[in-house]
């Protein structure tokens, strides 16, 4: 049936660990991972709770296909209430720990309460224990990973951990697994650290064996692997360039936000692109990119493994950064680079390494640095705050320093650790924060791509591209090409992408499969593996149910229609795009929103109607 049927409940306040059966009725309605964990969170916690208090819970959840051979079947999600947005947070990560949790026999681990002292959770199949973490508290993710591997003398241990940024309260701290994969957004790492939980170390040797129709499943797995291999995006573009394949493409269509989203194109885009990562460096003749890398079971392999030039100013005499580690993906390269106008690829890679080493989100970090740079150039933030570091756009030195400060939680890093909303409010310019619901935008400009702007405004976790990636349609033509500059028809497109994504995020598979697959590829794999009947229609409805449930959580947490919007800069004539194909354009979000509500079956205040809730079984 593909689920293990077991949940590990960890009460950190009491120090107790309990095995309990998975609610299989909910599994049929919410599948797993994002959907199922959100259901548990909504049922078990008050959405008004303090996200960093003991009443908030944090759930690490796998999907039914996690740990199987289905291509990309290694995903897990961390679901909790976000300290950055005060909305529901769901951060999805690949790497290997998701499959390891499943192979140890668990669908989910629910953490509740707060430990009186720093601990980590060690899981070996059905044996689990909380262990004193005082020796690793105050150290980085990378150190924690090495320490745990040494302690257990087990190279096969898979580890998720938080770093120093989370411990010092950075509001966008990530949970890093397998050294450089991240449940990255919305501050899920901050919640983990607030519970005094340093790490989760898992070893699973039971595997997944209870596939409903094994022969059919294997046949479908193989057929669908072939489809991924034959597709130009999943079979060629992503393996060769990673998500960084997009940098030049998005810049050319005038939708690459730059200079804290004052501009929509960046002159240095090529210097920080996927293509540039392949080019030999002038200094040592080696390319930034060493190889591509896969997460568990993934036949796409978009991950980047990179090095920094040993002579680069960021790593001089710092040998620990001379080896290979997780390299730049598009969103990180954009936030650390284009938005700050830093075109130094190695400096960006260094900042990215630090984001992994001490666990914080490069999108929010880079955007916050960009906001601080704008404030610095306005004279609002001065050398007094930055300790004498000239904090101008384009400064690689400022970016590197900022990354070091946030990693350690010191100096001006304490301001930067607030995220751009709180930082800009603190310095009296809330209008300069490029956020929705307190979360920073990713790398697609809503002035040049209308649909994505509506998706940002309505995303249940604040501005986010992977809640409804309309870029697939508006830029890449998947499944059909729509005009990015046109807002007509976008509410329906956004809804369709959001619902489908919620279903994929609940399955254990990676969203990137949907460049080549649709629900008619995913549903049969679920149907062959899982108990119940899984049709494409049922999956889409499940996605819509998950979306509405998240909306219910957010409305109970205090979100209103007023929060479903974009910053003035992006939706007003004054902020209109100044160059490129989108010149003169601004987001028509306010025009699209009422139609979006209507398509969703929500009232004009953005609340799901009774009829909608009833239709979805909520």
């Amino acid at each position: 049936m593909s689920w293990t049927g077991k949940i590990l409940r960890v009460n950190l306040t009491e120090g107790t660990l309990t095995a309990e059966p998975l609610n299989m009725q909910w599994a049929q309605q919410y599948l797993g991972q994002r959907g199922l964990a959100s259901k548990y969170l909504l049922e078990e916690t008050d959405p008004k709770c303090d996200p960093l208090g003991p009443d908030n819970k944090m759930i690490m959840a796998t999907g039914p296909l996690t740990g199987t051979m289905a291509a990309t079947g290694g995903r897990y999600s961390v679901v909790t209430k976000s300290p950055l947005t005060n909305c529901i947070a769901c951060s999805n990560s690949g790497g290997f720990i998701g499959a390891e949790i499943k192979h140890a026999g668990w669908d989910m681990i629910i953490f509740e309460g707060r430990s009186p002292m720093p601990v980590y959770l060690y899981v070996e199949n059905d044996q689990a224990e909380l262990v004193d973490a005082s020796e690793i508290w105050g150290t980085s993710v990378w150190h924690t990973d090495e320490w745990l591997h040494n302690k257990y003398q087990d190279p096969l241990l898979r580890i998720s951990a938080v770093g120093r940024s989370a411990e010092s309260g950075c509001l966008y701290a990530a949970i890093i697994n397998d050294l450089h994969r991240a449940a990255g957004r919305s501050g899920v790492g901050t919640v983990m650290a607030s519970k005094n939980l340093k790490a989760v170390a898992v070893r699973g040797t039971l595997g997944v064996g209870n596939i409903k129709q094994p022969e059919r499943f294997m046949q479908l797995v193989n057929e669908n692997k072939a489809i991924l291999a034959a597709n130009p995006v999943t079979g060629q573009g992503l393996p060769a360039y990673g998500t960084q394949v997009l940098m030049n493409v998005i810049n050319e269509i005038g939708a690459l936000p730059a200079k804290n989203m004052q501009e929509v194109q960046f002159d240095g885009a090529h210097d920080i692109s996927g293509e540039a990562m392949h080019e030999p460096r002038k200094s040592d003749g080696k390319p930034n990119l060493t190889t591509n890398a896969a997460c568990f079971g993934c036949t796409i392999a978009c991950g980047r493994i990179s090095t920094i030039d040993q002579g680069h100013f960021t790593v001089e005499n710092k040998a620990k950064y001379w080896g290979n580690s997780g390299g730049l993906e598009y969103e990180a390269a954009w936030a650390l680079g284009a938005d700050t106008e830093v075109n130094d690829l190695d400096a960006l890679t260094y900042a990215n390494f630090l984001c992994n080493e001490d666990g914080y989100d490069p999108i929010t970090f880079g955007s916050t640095v960009a906001a601080a740079m704008e404030l610095y150039e306005m004279g609002v933030i001065t050398d007094v705050q930055t300790d004498g570091v000239a904090f101008n756009f384009g400064s690689a030195e400022a970016l590197a320093k900022a990354a070091e400060w946030v990693a350690a939680g010191e100096g001006f890093g304490k301001d930067l650790a607030l995220g751009s909303k709180r930082l800009c409010e603190k310095y009296g310019h809330p209008e300069l924060s490029m956020t929705v619901k307190g979360q920073e935008f990713p790398a697609y400009d809503p002035r040049g791509i209308q649909g994505i702007g509506l998706n940002y405004a309505t995303s249940n976790r604040g501005a986010c591209h992977v809640r409804g990636y309309t870029i697939a349609s508006e830029v890449l033509g998947v499944p059909v090409k729509t005009d990015p500059l046109v807002s007509e028809g976008k509410p329906e497109l956004v809804k369709a992408f959001q619902d489908a994504t919620a279903a994929v995020d609940s399955s254990g598979l990676c969203l990137f499969t949907t460049f080549a697959w649709d629900m008619t590829n995913i549903a049969p794999q679920l149907d062959a593996a899982c108990e119940g009947e899984w049709t494409p229609e049922k999956l889409v409805e499940l996605g819509e149910r998950v979306w509405n449930m998240e909306r219910q959580y957010n409305m109970q947490a205090g979100i209103t229609r007023a929060d479903d919007t974009l910053p003035e800069r992006l939706k007003s004539e004054e902020g209109a795009a100044r160059t490129g194909p989108a010149k003169g354009r601004f987001s028509e979000v306010e025009k699209m929103l009422p139609e979006y509500y209507e398509k969703r079956g929500w009232n004009e205040d953005g609340a799901p109607t009774d009829e909608t809730l009833k239709r979805l079984g909520l």
Binding site: G204, T205, L206, P214, N324
Partner: protein, 159 residues
């Protein structure tokens, strides 16, 4: 004609599809810890290296086995473990210089690559052709071809 597994780490992405296919074929479960082929990650170097039994002609494991549980499959060249004969003494795991024979504590027997009877599932599962199954006498053919091109002294290439 016997064939052999040929592994090219340059092509490996570390996805573990080979381990999943192997454990599924032999144990009916997706479980890397029960796979006869393993992929090793060398993080600092950015390398992924699949590794499994090379089916030695004079196999140490076979020679060390006190109950003759390991025999040659003359069709494939694989050294295969007979579960009904194996007593789980693990002497073969000590004898193997490469570590590719391992004990399975669930069954009390040892496990090693048996080339899936001539249709190795790791090969069909690998998305990048990092593992291929080729004529056992010609495993170097592709590499020779690459070097032949490299060292071809045609004037245009060396100009």
């Amino acid at each position: 004609m016997q064939k052999a597994l040929l592994i090219d780490p340059d092509k490996c992405t570390g996805c573990l599809q080979c381990e999943l296919a192997c454990s599924y074929e032999h144990e009916g479960v997706f479980n890397p810890s029960k796979s006869r082929i393993r992929v090793f990650t060398f993080h600092q170097e950015g390398r992924f290296v699949p590794y499994t039994c090379t089916q030695c002609s004079e196999a140490w494991c076979q020679q060390a086995c006190p109950v003759d549980a390991i025999s040659l499959n003359t069709d494939t060249g694989a050294k295969e473990v007979s579960d009904s004969t194996c007593v789980g003494c693990k002497v073969c795991t000590i004898a193997c210089p490469f570590g590719t024979v391992n004990y399975n504590q669930v069954t009390g027997k040892v496990i090693k690559c048996d080339l899936c009877g001539g249709d190795p599932k790791c090969v069909s599962a690998c998305p990048t052709q990092a593992i291929v199954y080729v004529d056992a006498d010609q495993t170097g053919y592709e590499k020779m071809r690459q070097w032949a091109r490299e060292t071809d002294n045609n004037p245009a290439a060396s100009a």
